[in-house]
């Protein structure tokens, strides 16, 4: 095992721990902070995969913006009543999750390597490479995504607008 692999396993281990923390923590704010930590660790994983742009955007968008809004809403609603859980559903959820994991893990570990794995070059994952493919090969999805965002904005305004 070389250094990169050791680093990966440390990161992955921390990631799993913080993800479990998100699920098992009873306090909503603790959960949210564990999720921030998980997102941060994912960003570092991206950095180690030579994709700094995606990594930094991960922090900027998820940890920096979306999770802050999460906290904002949590602080507004202060959902203390949600801390009780029903045991039956707990067991049911755990069972379903285990079944899914049991089905996925053997399948995912037991495959050949993906076809044509992309070789990470020096430029790969940098802003220029990303921008180039975004505005050439993926220009149509890019534009449709902007429509999607527009729809989401209109929708959010419509639903949140104060009634006259």
């Amino acid at each position: 095992m070389n250094g990169a692999q050791v680093g990966f396993f440390i990161l992955a281990g921390l990631l799993i721990v913080s993800s479990l923390w998100v699920v098992f923590q009873r306090n909503v704010v603790h959960s949210a902070m564990a999720l921030v930590a998980a997102l941060f660790l994912v960003a570092i994983l991206f950095l180690t995969l030579n994709a700094p742009m995606v990594g930094v955007l991960q922090i900027l968008v998820y940890a920096g913006a979306i999770m802050v809004l999460f906290l904002f809403v949590i602080m507004f609603l202060n959902p203390i009543g949600l801390e009780q859980r029903r045991r039956l559903w707990w067991g049911f959820g755990a069972l379903a999750g285990l079944l899914l994991a049991g089905a996925l893990v053997p399948v995912l570990t037991n495959g050949d390597a993906p076809r044509d794995p992309v070789v990470a070059t020096e430029l790969f994952g940098g802003p220029e490479e990303l921008a180039r493919s975004l505005f050439t090969d993926f220009v149509l999805p890019f534009e449709i995504a902007s429509i999607l965002l527009l729809v989401a904005i209109v929708g959010a305004v419509v639903l949140a607008k104060r009634e006259p």
């Binding site: 306090n27 704010v29 603790h30 902070m33 921030v36 700094p52 742009m53 930094v56 955007l57 922090i59 900027l60 940890a63 920096g64 913006a65 802050v68 809004l69 906290l71 904002f72 949590i74 602080m75 507004f76 940098g126 802003p127």
Partner: protein
Amino acid sequence: MIVDIGIVAIKAFLVLFMVLNLAGLLGWVERKGSALIQDRIGANRASIFGFAGMGLVNTLIADPLKFLTKEDFVPPSGDRFLHTLAPCLALFPALVTFAVIPFGDVLYLGDRVINLQVANLNVGILYIFAMGSLGVYGLVIGAWASNNKFSLLGGVRGSAQMISYEVALGLSVIGILMVYGTLELQEIARGQGALLRELLPESAGFLRATVGWLPAWGIFLQPVAFLLFFTAAVAETKRIPFDLPEAESELVAGSHVEYSGGKFLMFFAGEFAEIVTAAGLMTTLFFGGWQVPYLMRDGFHFPWGASILLPHVAVVLLQVGAFTFKVLFFCWLQILLRWTVPRFRYDQVMRLGWKMLLPVALVNVMITALVVLYMQHNP
């Protein structure tokens, strides 16, 4: 290998050292400066054997000592873990952001080329925004963990305000990115070493003749962006006129109500570190970074033909000196602002952010894009 790591470690230590010390020094500037502005005497009580040093002893030695020896109070119904985590979250982003800000060009040491920047990331600016966007956690988590209505209100205000101004902050820089064509801060700083007339197209003869002698600093190319950036950056540091999360006349001390001792000191230091970082960014993006007008790598070359050759060390020293001077200037400007203008009302802050800064920033991006496109087709 070892030497490389050593060099990076030295650079990192130097930058951290400078930022933290500057943060402390700014505390003194804030207290003495405000006294000057308000025609008071200011901090002068503490002294060592009668030496008060213009209040330096008071603010740099006595104050920190007092903070560190005070009781570290955690509200009984609060969340002890998060209450402790929050100040670290507040200080951390402010300190790591400076890593990508270049404080000089390259230093040749023997056959070694040292880039005077702690980390050269090709996503530099995004890194800064990413770290800046984490800054809000310290405030919000601290506010929530205090379990106090005033701090909660402050936290809610703070998160809304910082999210809002991040948008304007990010968009204001897009113009700069387009003009210099890179996200790397060192490249942006280098790009500002050119003269305007080298950038202007042949067809703009009049402009070349009149303002062509100016250096191609961001402020000359993107003046609107600078105003937007300055406003948004001040809002991000949560100081007057944008100190709604604290607003002592409404919320006592807002998000900091339940903090005392060392933890409060960390919040305090974090705020000043943010000022230093903001000043560093203003300098790098809009005021040439470490550039001294007309100073090339081998000395001065003036537009009228004269040149003064300087040794390499002198050039580097001049550059680092210029950077430090500019950063100090913007720190001073921010402190001056804090003691000059009154606080906005909350709705005004929101309106300014969403209804004025954001549209102006968008229009600025649009116009810049058109001009850049035009210049690419008519060189």
